[in-house]
Symmetry: C2
């Protein structure tokens, strides 16, 4: 398997990365081709498609090893509260025999950059730096099955939390916007709406339910601090500029 | 990449294999797990899903080498008549940097066999013996985008040909049904409707247009001979039982 590209976005750690794709997301990911596959000809006609498939590799860092006979036949999907075991092939869990991920995204635009033609996509559930193995056009007549029955994903839709910013977080973010610390060298700008989208999806690890606990995660040059009340309201408590965040790869 | 399963169906050569998936196809494919991944627990809950993704490997035998720097950035999709070059990432061509295929199929049933639990699926565009790397549930809310714009695949839908059986083909097939030669040891039975479906999709190589030429291909223990008139009518001219076809892997 050759790595043809890498994802580039604001998620420098796994925390906060969406658990599934949502093509109308505000969160953009850039697909930057590796030098060997940096060829505009390979993209000829791709702009005719509104959506793409990205076949990519899950990060191994936070997962149990699945090499050889050590694969686990069952997993506990977070969507089911983490208590119920399902077969790995009945879930989209990253802990699978081959750590291949499949994401449908919206193709927003193609940018010409110093790193060649870059695909800017909406809705990827990828961490920054994830390796990409293939990009295919989304073909509605073979890929779209709106009447498909989606098992547990039909009956346990992801609920969205309300997000409230404290005065401190508001003034933190105003300051950050003034200094431009929310804009990185990859030309990504963190907006309030992006932070709200990430938090509304409840990025806490499954089964966490401690209303006192302050969580923090990095997104695109900022550290965002928050807590979640028993009533499932997210309070953003602080936004801190991270000056020395590592860019890109 | 570990091979977790193999496809088993009537397509012992590439000729006749559907060019895309069609979930309402009559053509069944069995997904038989390799001994290491033959574990019913890994399928727990999969019956709750009506459709699956199969991530599998294209056969290398009929394709130009794409190792290393020898990948071709453009391909000529058969759907465009074979004259127009498009970027490989704007097509589903098998001739891509990583020869990974993606197919959505309908999950018909799970069979308990001497080879473990076998998934019986409808609509796979796979050759017999194709290696399978992953199986994922189809999740309508993330995977189905009926309004997606499908580029050239929207404007050049595959046309279906009319299929007519000659008297000889009819009597051939009646004889084959009598002797049971259309039933293989994999418990696959070739029906007239399957043959019609394969031929209606025009399995001739792109750009072929010789109304005199008799084509033949193997399907599930039979060799089917046909020709296609200038008016795009397929005449089935003979169906021959192949006694010594190699089964399964």
């Amino acid at each position: 398997m050759n790595i043809i590209a890498h994802a580039r976005n604001g998620f420098h750690t796994k925390f906060g990365v969406p658990r599934q794709t949502t093509v109308d997301s505000r969160i953009l990911t850039r697909i930057v081709f590796t030098p060997e596959y940096r060829n505009a000809e390979a993209l000829r006609g791709i702009e005719q498609f509104s959506h793409l498939w990205i076949i990519w590799g899950f990060d191994d860092s936070n997962a149990p090893q699945t090499e050889g006979s050590q694969w686990s036949p069952t997993v506990r999907p977070p969507r089911l509260g983490g208590n119920q075991r399902l077969g790995v092939f009945a879930t989209r869990s990253p802990n699978r025999p081959n750590r291949i991920a499949l994401s449908s995204v919206r193709l927003l635009r193609i940018e010409q950059t110093a790193e060649g033609h870059v695909l800017v996509v909406q809705g990827a559930d990828m961490k920054n730096g994830s390796p990409v193995y293939d990009i295919k056009p989304y073909i509605p007549y073979t890929d779209s099955h709106p009447d498909a029955i989606g098992g547990f994903t039909d009956t346990t839709p992801a609920h969205k939390l309300n997000v409230v910013w404290t005065d401190k977080a508001n003034s933190d973010f105003q300051e950050i916007q003034k200094t431009g610390a929310n804009q990185t060298s990859s030309n990504l700008v963190t907006t309030r709406e992006e932070i709200n989208e990430i938090l509304a999806a409840d990025p806490r690890p499954a089964y966490h339910n401690d209303p006192q606990r302050i969580y923090g995660f990095e997104y695109n040059g900022c550290e965002i601090k928050f807590r979640v009340t028993q009533e499932h309201i997210v309070y953003v408590t602080a936004v801190i500029a991270l000056e020395h965040i590592q860019q890109g790869e």
